[in-house]
């Protein structure tokens, strides 16, 4: 079978490769943000916040390249789905980068406050799970694997459960002072940012399904069953124990 339009397809492949690269870069920064909170790493926080501007710039550049392909090459069928999905995925990645920067801003605001050991453990877990979700979505994208994409939603259920537990623990360990209250609010927000990162990963995986099958995400699906933490083994449990 003779391949026509090689240059155009190379352009598409390159955009996809660069989107995956950007996603990987953001995924890598997620557990780092958790570490920055845990280590009170102000220098690291500064670095990650500054790096977010670069991620935003690359995201805009990728979007421009998608628009150019749409305008000049009039992609159809699988190619069209890919370009449309990549534009959405780039937006998810960009937003994820913002979440990571926000977590680092929380690290600055809670600087100098000792965290309860239970909270520390949960921050670490949220960082790892949010990253695992992003990596699974990236894998699904790279391999155009619908089954892997479908698994991302379940992984997000676990992250949501950890975040709920984090909020519960915050309430239990709260001492009621005004100073303590401010730290608690900041930490609650950080946990929410981790939880949002998981949602962005799920959205990315949904777009992978669209690329492969042409079916748009169905938001009318029944709510997923609540995940009890005891039901799901922590992915890193074996190694960290």
């Amino acid at each position: 079978m003779e391949e026509l339009r090689k240059t155009y397809h190379n352009t598409l492949d390159q955009i996809r490769a660069d989107v995956i690269l950007l996603a990987a870069r953001v995924a890598e920064s997620v557990p780092r943000a958790a570490g920055i909170i845990l280590d009170s790493d102000l220098e690291g926080a500064e670095y990650v916040i500054k790096a977010d501007a670069e991620i935003d710039a690359v995201a805009v550049e990728l979007e421009e390249r998608c628009i150019e392909v749409l305008a000049l090459q009039a992609p159809v069928a699988g190619d069209l789905r890919q370009v449309l999905a990549l534009m959405k995925i780039v937006a998810e990645i960009e937003r994820t980068g913002d979440m990571v920067a926000n977590i680092c801003k929380v690290a600055r605001r809670v600087y100098g406050h000792e965290l309860d050991p239970r909270l520390r453990g949960l921050v670490g877990r949220m960082g790892e799970q949010a990253q695992a979700i992003l990596l699974a979505a990236i894998d699904a994208m790279r391999e155009r694997d619908v089954a892997k994409a479908a698994a991302v939603d379940d992984m997000d259920g676990y992250l949501d459960a950890v975040q709920k537990q984090f909020i519960q623990t915050l309430i239990e360990t709260h001492h009621g002072t005004s100073d303590d209250m401010q730290v608690a609010v900041q930490l609650a927000m950080a946990s929410r940012f981790f939880e949002r990162i998981g949602d962005h990963g799920v959205n990315m995986a949904e777009r992978v399904k669209f690329i492969v099958t042409g079916v748009l995400p169905d938001h009318r699906k029944p709510e997923r069953a609540p995940v009890a933490l005891g039901d799901v083994a922590h992915p890193e449990a074996g190694e960290s124990a």
């Binding site: 003779e2 026509l4 339009r5 009039a74 159809v76 069928a77 042409g214 079916v215």
Partner: protein, 293 residues
């Protein structure tokens, strides 16, 4: 010869069925509820050579159906079956069935001239008669017995308006049709085809000899007249199929075991939006995305 009477579309009106994934069922568009042509197991031979095989397509009323595919895939051959144009090629032979409102077009009792009156055709190259613009359009109605000048004037004006050509030629109706530009000539041929009020217009690459502006005019014209006619168009231009049609049939060629000539085969037939956003068959995907030519 006994001429079998072709039914009118209103005689065979079928109530719309419910929406389904079956592309051979109606898209649910208003006025597009019944089947005009239904082919089954259609194959066309030129002598011993089988040019196209296993074509099963329902063409729906007042829709634009486009045939796309690489050269030699049989799309024009199938189109020509719809008004028995293949009869004019001595070696051509049709197997299977082509039903027009439930009547087999190839039934010996069916009058081919009547078929071609009901099912008009526009060709790749504009082919006006070497006559005046007026006489080109009046030719068919005159053959049909229309004689009064006032009646003919009315028919000519209606057809030229229908083909979006009236304003450009109304002051020079006696001028030769051959003096028009290519795009105007093609619209004159469309006017000539619709002057006899056919039910169906078959268009065999009607824009391939036209510049982009003339092409856009013909495409726009197709949209304007599709509420009155059922249109089947063969096109090499995939974007044209995407722009104008409601449904698309993709044909390709396959290698014969017995000879080195290729036989055309219908790969996929579905709503245009489906064919260009998420086709079901890998071969369609490869063709529309330009991975194979």
């Amino acid at each position: 010869m006994i001429s079998k009477v072709l039914p009118n579309s209103s005689d065979t009106y079928q109530e719309p069925t419910t929406m389904s994934d079956n592309p051979n069922q109606s898209a649910g568009t208003p006025g597009a509820t019944d089947v005009v042509f239904r082919t089954s197991d259609l194959a066309v031979y030129y002598g011993e050579f089988r040019a196209v095989r296993d074509v099963a397509i329902d063409v729906h009323r007042k829709e634009i159906t486009a045939f796309i595919g690489p050269s030699g895939c049989g799309k024009s051959t199938v189109l020509r079956c719809f008004n028995r144009m293949n009869d004019l090629i001595p070696s051509a032979r049709v197997e299977g069935k082509v039903d027009f409102h439930g009547v087999d077009l190839y039934d010996p009792a069916v009058n081919a001239v009547e078929v071609r009156r009901r099912i008009g055709m526009v060709f790749q190259k504009p082919n006006p008669f070497p006559k005046s613009i007026y006489d080109n359009v009046a030719y068919g109605p005159r053959l049909g017995g229309l004689k009064k000048k006032a009646d003919l004037d009315a028919v000519v004006e209606k057809a030229l308006r229908g083909a979006a050509l009236w304003d450009e030629v109304k002051d020079r109706l006696k001028a030769s049709g051959l003096g028009l530009s290519g795009g105007q000539q093609q619209r004159l041929c469309i006017a000539r085809a619709i002057a006899i009020e056919p039910e169906v217009l078959l268009m065999d690459e009607p824009c391939s000899a036209l510049d982009p502006i003339a092409t856009a005019r013909v495409e726009e014209l197709m949209q304007e007249i599709k509420d009155q006619y059922t249109i089947v168009i063969v096109t090499h231009n995939m974007q044209q199929a995407a722009r104008v049609s409601d449904r698309v049939a993709f044909f390709t060629t396959e290698v014969n075991t017995e000879s080195d000539r290729r036989t055309g085969v219908l790969v996929e037939y579905d709503l245009t939006k489906k064919m260009f956003s998420a086709p079901s068959d890998e071969r369609t995907e490869a063709y529309v995305t330009g991975r194979f030519g």
